[in-house]
């Protein structure tokens, strides 16, 4: 009789524990989904940014034929960033891919910065309608990227904190949540101050 009671209590404990573990698993999945959704936001904006650059190069080319090197650097940095984005989009939880994307976007920002700094020397270019519009669009896209990145980093932080705290930390590794997701940081200067078109 007492053995049976013990067994029943044991079983009840196991059931409760099981429920808790299932809850932890689901929460981990939910948080992971959330930061993946947040990454999708960044992806949209970065793609838009990448799409603007060929237009920019096309516009600038006519005026800045002497700055071939800078233009090529921009195109190369853009291609690098496109590749980085594709890889990171496949698995936003992959820290290495996120780090590479951050580096590539940072490099793109700094080459773009150089391009815009050089464009200061070409008053015709600076005043052209196309250039004004592109500068404007790049800047607003940049703001959106920054905002989406903030959302992504918030979600990643929430996931990481949950993953590292008790009781989730006990099971996280077992359920394939053993690694922290990486924050997305763009290396190099922020582009904000750069494509500002002065009138």
């Amino acid at each position: 009789m007492s053995a049976l009671v013990t067994l029943l209590i044991l079983v009840a404990v196991v059931v409760v524990l099981g429920a808790i573990v299932v809850g932890i698993y689901n929460k981990l999945v939910t948080y992971r989904n959330r930061y993946k959704n947040a990454f999708a936001q960044i992806e949209v904006q970065l793609k838009r940014r990448h799409d603007l650059i060929p237009n920019l190069v096309e516009t600038v080319k006519g005026y800045m034929s002497h700055e071939r090197g800078t233009l090529e650097a921009v195109v190369a940095a853009r291609n690098q960033a496109v590749g980085g984005l594709q890889q990171a989009a496949q698995d936003p939880g992959n820290a290495e891919a996120i780090r590479k994307l951050g580096a590539a976007e940072g490099a793109l920002s700094s080459t773009l910065g150089r391009l815009f700094a050089l464009s200061e020397n070409y008053p015709d270019l600076k005043a052209s309608q196309n250039m004004l519009q592109l500068g404007e669009e790049l800047r607003s896209t940049e703001n959106k990227v920054a905002f989406a990145r903030q959302a992504f980093n918030d979600s990643v932080t929430q996931y990481n904190i949950y993953r590292q705290t008790f009781p989730a930390v006990v099971f996280a590794g077992m359920f394939g949540h053993g690694q922290d997701a990486a924050l997305l940081e763009f290396e190099g200067e922020p582009i904000q101050q750069v494509p500002k078109v002065s009138f």
């Binding site: 009789m1 053995a3 049976l4 009671v5 067994l7 029943l8 079983v11 009840a12 196991v14 059931v15 409760v16 429920a19 299932v22 809850g23 689901n26 999945v29 939910t30 989904n33 993946k36 959704n37 947040a38 999708a40 936001q41 949209v44 904006q45 793609k47 800047r139 607003s140 940049e142 703001n143 959106k144 920054a146 905002f147 989406a148 903030q150 959302a151 918030d154 979600s155 929430q158």
Partner: protein
Amino acid sequence: MATDFFDRQDAARRNTTRLVVLFVLAVLAIMVSIHVLLAGALGYLTYEERAADGPDWSLLTDPGIALLAFAGTLIVVGGGSLFKVAQLRGGGRVVAEQLGGRLLNPDTADPSERQLMNVVEEMAIAAGTTAPPVYLLEQEEGINAFAAGFTPDGAVIGVTRGAAQRLSRDELQGVIAHEFSHILNGDMRLNIRLIGLLHGILIIGMLGYFVLRMTAFSGGRARRSRDQGNAALPMLAIGAGLMVVGFFGTFFGNLIKAAVSRQREFLADAAAVQFTRQPDGIAGALKKIGGIATGSTIQSPNAPEASHMFFGRATSGFSALFSTHPPLGDRIRRIDPSWDGTFPEAAPGAPPVSASHAAATGFAPGAGTGRVASAAQALDHVGRPTEAHIDYAARLLDSLPDRIRAAAHEPYGARALVYTLLLDRDAEMRRKQLQHLERAADPGVFEETLRLVPIVAQLQTLARLPVAEIALPALRQLTANQYRLFKQNVAVLVEADENIDLFEWALQRILLHDLEAHHGGVAPPRVRHHALAPLQPQCELLLSVLAHAGHRDAQAAGKAFEAARQTLGLPQARMLDTGEADLRALDAALTDLEQAAPQIKRRVLEAAVACIAADQQMTATEAELLRAISASLGVPMPPLLGV
């Protein structure tokens, strides 16, 4: 079909109660079986010692054993159910994410996703709900969709990739209308409860399996010991018994679930035809399901649990009795009696034609302003939008400038859009508000706001609230930190001019009602008020504000209030003066009214419409207020269409 939205909400609650009763009976049956099982097994243990003939059943009356069996069952089943329901209380997005859904970006560039979002937005405006988040089940090739969530506010819609790509716009509209009908009918609450209850019973069976395994395992080790071997047999019996009880419990549970679900599917199909007036749409979608090899099957391992939430059968291999959906042919024939029984061969992945649904007639403010149909008629459309409402919604969406739609579709621009909508007409106020934004908001958002000002200024008055509403899905994507800042800024903008203007109040009310629930995880409202009389002060305030808002002179306002009072049926109701009726108190009153029973809400809304219709004229302010009121009460009220 005399039932309306409010009756069906009531019915959904009653059905839930009935289910709970059925479930309690099932649990009692389970308790008794387990008690018999335990008593028998323990009686067998003492059998040899007593050397009597036959097992000892005297333990059946032992109170200790009874307590053990009853308490144990209660803990296990109750705990299992509560756990599952608590988990699903997080709302539809939990279900969607567990099924492998990806939240669709409102500003997606993919044409088929774009089309899906447009159809959902249109349906939401037509039905008078906020646009639910849309999840795409990317791994699923079959044609299927589902709606999930505890309340209409927490609802999400999920669509498989197969459905998004293979269905035409009309077919997709039919499917989405079907899902909206589930949302509007309160089916989802029932669905989630069903999942929870079944889960509790399922655990009994799992427990039996667990006991069986454990005994077999320890029995193997202790084979040499006689005494222990003796004890193993009853344990095996208990394990097996629990499994059998669990099996029958789940068996009957599934039977109930399937029966309820089949009935609801027919209803939702009929409602979809009623919304769109296009039987071809939903019939076409059903035929396409029959025409492709994958049908409507869902691959996700979590699909069986949620099978009754889907548009089509998500799992295969069940007999008709267990099927959560009526046979495809039956469903098609109910919608399209002339069907010849053949399924078309669906061409995979036909890209959507990006033609706009509405003819380019432009958006005339035919709805809202102008004469109003009778209150009773307006309330009839609650939860049951018609083709006219969908047309209205499509034209409204079409009339919006691209810049505004683009801004509404991503979180960054959506915030700027809301700020812009809140800017005052008065130049001095506006300057103050902008100064605050420049200080407090993100610099980029401030610039975006400035850019939007001239475009928003050209919006039709009646398009302003819908613009904010289509921005909601994007705003839901703000993270907790971002939302906090947004909320602060909205509050400052609204209060900048010391007296809150009605539009600002309505906008803030609609936004926060939705976003608070989303971000704060506010529990769905419970019904606390079953009678109208105790709510008289709240009704007085609500109707007074409405009467003053729509009528400049006191006499006309008094007449409107009188009409409302008669409809409401509270003869003692007293009209408040303009000074007494402040909007902050209205917030509190609406929170109370939200916890009223559906029939009470109906009376209140009828009175509100009567108040508006008293002078046969509806102003934009009245329309906006009504929208905010119905949204606050959780009642999906389609836009009032002028006659």
